[in-house]
């Protein structure tokens, strides 16, 4: 009946429980659609306003959305060149997940957004950078699609990582999302 020992053990367990989940939001951004990317950034920036630290892991179809339309990737083989041509080059080129209607739907949506003063995707990405939202790019997706780091936008603190790095962040986050 060692009360002190039991008390200490309980205190240590409490410390684990209390520190377990940080005020952090980790998001997997998998979709390359304009509407889904916008939602991801609105949630990310909103989360910063609510006092959360935010990590966004860009993988698969979301990866092309971070391309800089002014830059050109070097040293690509035929497949990489094909991917580069077929996939959108940056945030201004991504389209709606529905009702794209050959580009008309996306154009209309952008027009309405501008009219209602809703920030564009490019503006949201810039805001996210200013607010300290961390962006991780999936190395594997980059490799598969043949994108190189030199064609990616200038985003503060951008890191190329593997899934374990993301999972480490997600592991102690209060909120985890898949978009």
């Amino acid at each position: 009946m060692d009360v002190e020992k039991t008390l200490q053990s309980i205190q240590e367990q409490m410390a684990d429980v209390v520190d377990a989940r940080k005020d952090k939001l980790s998001m997997v951004v998998f979709s390359g659609d304009l509407d889904k990317l916008l939602a991801a950034f609105i949630i990310a920036t909103g989360a910063v306003a609510m006092g959360l630290e935010v990590v966004m892991f860009f993988t698969f179809w979301a990866t092309p959305a971070l391309r800089d339309k002014k830059k050109k990737g070097k040293g690509k083989d035929i497949f990489a060149k094909m991917f580069g041509f077929m996939l959108p080059k940056g945030p201004s080129k991504v389209t709606l997940s529905q009702m794209n209607m050959g580009g008309m739907g996306t154009a209309m949506m952008k027009k309405i957004m501008k009219k209602k003063n809703v920030s564009s995707l490019e503006e949201m990405i810039e805001l996210a950078g200013e607010l300290g939202v961390r962006i991780f790019i999936c190395e594997m997706s980059m490799d598969l699609m043949g994108f190189t780091r030199d064609e990616i936008i200038d985003y503060p603190g951008l890191e190329s990582v593997g899934v374990a790095s993301f999972l480490a962040e997600a592991g102690d986050s209060k909120i985890q999302l898949f978009i």
Partner: protein, 79 residues
């Protein structure tokens, strides 16, 4: 209408989600505890966003005044 002493005025009219709360949270960081800011917004989601933000950031909404489609939130920095 409200006789609260205001230290900072924020005209956020025309800004859409999530900008109103983002800007308020940035401004609050620069203020001292006890100071009050008033945020004017036309964002339709503000009526639920501002209280939610205040709750999670630990700050206090002293008053909410609605004039047409403009809502004024008087916010006091508590911590």
């Amino acid at each position: 209408m409200s006789d609260i002493t205001v230290d900072v005025n924020m005209d956020l009219k025309g800004l859409a989600c999530p900008l109103p709360v983002v800007k308020v949270s940035q401004q609050i960081k620069k203020m001292d505890v006890g100071q009050v800011l008033v945020a004017e917004t036309t964002d339709p989601g503000a009526h639920s966003d501002f209280p939610a933000w205040a709750k999670s950031s630990g700050n206090e909404i002293l008053d909410t005044v609605k004039e047409g489609n403009v809502s004024k939130f008087y916010i006091k920095k508590v911590k």
